[in-house]
Amino acid sequence: MAADPTPRWKRVEEWDLRPLRLDSFSEENPEHGFAVFHSPWDPAPGLVLGSGGEIVEMDGRKAADFDILDAFIAAHHLDVAVAPEAMALDSTLVARMLVDVNVPREELERLARGMTPAKLAEVVGRLSMLEATFAYSKMRQRHSPGNQAHVTNAKDDPLQLAADSAIAVGLGFDEIETTMRVAGNAWANALACTVGAAAGRGSTLFQCSIEEAEELKIGLAGLATYAETVSVYGSERSFVDGDDTPWSKTFLTAAYASRGIKARCTSGAGSELLMGFHEKCSVLYLEARCLCLQRGMGVQGTQNGGVDGAPLTASMPGGVRELMAENLIAVWLGLECASGNDTRTSESEVRIGAKITPYLLAGSDLITSGFGSIRAYDNSFNPSLFNAEEMEDYLVLQRDFQADGGLAPVGESAALALRRQAVTALADVLEELGLADTEAGMIESVIHASGSNETETFSPLRTLQISQDIAARGLTALDVVRALARRGHRDMAGNVMAMLRQRVSGDYLQTSAILRDGRVVSAVNDPNRYSGPGTGYQMDEDRWARVKAVRGTISRNHILAGEGNHQAPAGAAQFYPIGEAGPGRDPHEVVIGISPAFGERLHRTTAGHAVTDVLDALTKGILEGGALPRVVRIRHTADTSFLGLTAARLAGSGFGIGIQAKGTAIIHQKDRLPHMNLELFSNAPLVSLDQYRAMGRNAGRMTWGELPEPIIVTNDGQALGARFHPRVALLYAIETEMTDPAATPEEMFFASAERNA
């Protein structure tokens, strides 16, 4: 048998069990691509122009040796009219300009057009996380922030897609993105999301993520409005392995625009590392190349910030800071930024909450490039940073920071109404178009389900058939409009029509464009002009009222209404005043001083005990301790210490107990200083009736000169303040309101339940 290993510190064993320990943390190793901001193999920034203004050398590489990225960046990104000026600027100076509210965004964008990838990376590398976040909020393109949702499910169920699209739009997502478990279901997905997104206020951009040719066809049929699958990579070999070149992607970008479809590229730290062609460069430098390329391609925006490579990047030291730095380069280059946050980067909820916070504070064109608006197991892209499980956490973070994260709460009944509207409409459309008959049971099951594990719906084969029929028959959004209108869903038909109308105008092809209430909002007509406090985006009153209205808020009215509902049950203990209270003479008398609202306007402690039960427990305990209880109502104070001291001074023994309606209780003695009590139950929510009884017993034994063992109310770490303090503050305000400085203590007749029977 092996020798007993060295005993461990139990703290570490506890840490071993926390979800954090499931995360991997990688060490830096630039030679193998594990470098965040800088690798010794990164080129130094540099640009040499020939006499005719042609680029002779860029970032340490001669034009003759340019790879496909260098060649494209040199030809299409770099503005040689600005480059000499921009490249000559000290990088720290430029970094300072990025956080200087007096340097306009436009001026910094002008300089970026003359900077090489290595220069851009060097500059953002000189900003701390806080500075990069601030710079991001100044440089992001659209004035008002937005957000994007993933809407998918494990069954590719069209009914659930419709319901969940309606919820996503209801919450305020500006874009929704779907994808499939089975590629053949693409058309059913697209049609279902188109119908669902038309419920309620309607108007949101929608994409069906699939292979390019199919995506173009779906877009052409009016069943999708944007695409973000134009992936680019930061090294030549990963680009070619990704089966494209900068020119093929540029062509594809123009192809999308030619069909009226908004497009954005996708890139992000770690992708080259995952693909095995990192060229020993830092992930930031490779991403800077991707972004210069994207500006050169003429795409309006990017989805970056790690994206699929985010967990790998976040595993490195400083990785999360790098993700913000690359988002900053994107907006600095004038690109719309859907800023990642679409991949679960950690098993630790602390790291998840921390990851989103800078983006919530800074705002972003699309804070996540895919918030899992559905359950994590239903997310066909893989779980997002935030999923339906944590939706309310996100809504509360918006409220905490008074930051607009693009969403606002939807009440349960409104949510159910949206789901019903969407699912019923889709069932009608499927029937009207002769695609499928939906059973009533399926509709009800989907409306009330949280995720696909709970739905009874079409079989996988049936869904596939629906999808194939849509494609084969060449159905378009116009068929959807007609079917909706014929079945009485006129408003939804109008919403789909409004989207088709927008497509023809091309307005949403411009940078950072989204649709809000049927109108295009973009960096052209709603540019970010932040220039310090008092400028920039702020929620108006109406918006803030909606954002802060999270579920389950309490107010004084809720408390009083709740107390009003509590009537003492028949046969319960009773007490009532019987005249002014004088000093007692019995040397074993213990006085219980009850607060002004105790059993008057407030009837329950924060632990949920009836105040009469608490009083009963205290009196029984005093008797067990060999003493005599007397109950006195004190009205001149509601403070526990003074309640206790007043009671003690009235008691023949000099020992008293003070108690508030919320359950905070104290043992006091007549000659002690007010705050030098003998025993205190400060965490009222945790105190049991047995413990009140034990407190009474201790007070009784004190009258015999004993020093009893204090009662310990154990606390296993609950956030009692978070759980109870709003209620406590409201309860205590009711107590203090009932105080009368001139009031003298009143003798109370108290009959316990037994005596009362």
Partner: protein, 140 residues
């Protein structure tokens, strides 16, 4: 002072008269009734080169030169049928064309048949760099 193209944006609100579909419809014709009565067809869901060039002017006036160039390439591609569009994209991917000449021929086709000089120039640039970087090797 002449009007800036920025004053036209969004076209759907400020200059809707400039927007026509390939079928000749205006934005005001996009109604549910028009769809029900068959006055609007799939061809009306397409964007026109004229609108894309207006959006290019707007992008350029907003300081976004490369985005404007993209819209101008897109304007040329509106005339290219879906099959040809996808086939050209495919041809531009690594290893699809066996030699630069294939790409140059496609560029010529774009210029001659579709009056698409910007697209042709893009394809020719791809041919040149592909030759330099050896991208015409078969991948599958």
């Amino acid at each position: 002072m002449s009007r800036s193209p920025l004053d036209l944006y969004p076209l759907s609100e400020k200059a809707s008269a400039l927007v026509r579909t390939p079928g000749g419809l205006g934005l005001e014709d996009f109604t549910v009734d028009a769809a029900l009565e068959g006055r609007i067809g799939p061809q009306d869901l397409a964007i026109t080169p004229e609108v894309l060039r207006l959006q290019a002017d707007i992008a350029r006036a907003a300081g976004r030169d490369t985005l404007a160039a993209n819209f101008e390439r897109a304007a040329e591609l509106t005339a290219v049928p879906q099959e040809m569009l996808l086939d050209t994209y495919e041809l531009l991917r690594p290893g699809r064309a066996g030699a630069a000449a294939e790409l140059r021929a496609r560029a010529q086709l774009m210029r001659a048949r579709f009056n698409a000089p910007l697209i042709a120039a893009l394809i020719e640039e791809a041919a040149e760099i592909g030759e330099k970087r050896g991208l015409f090797t078969k991948r599958f």
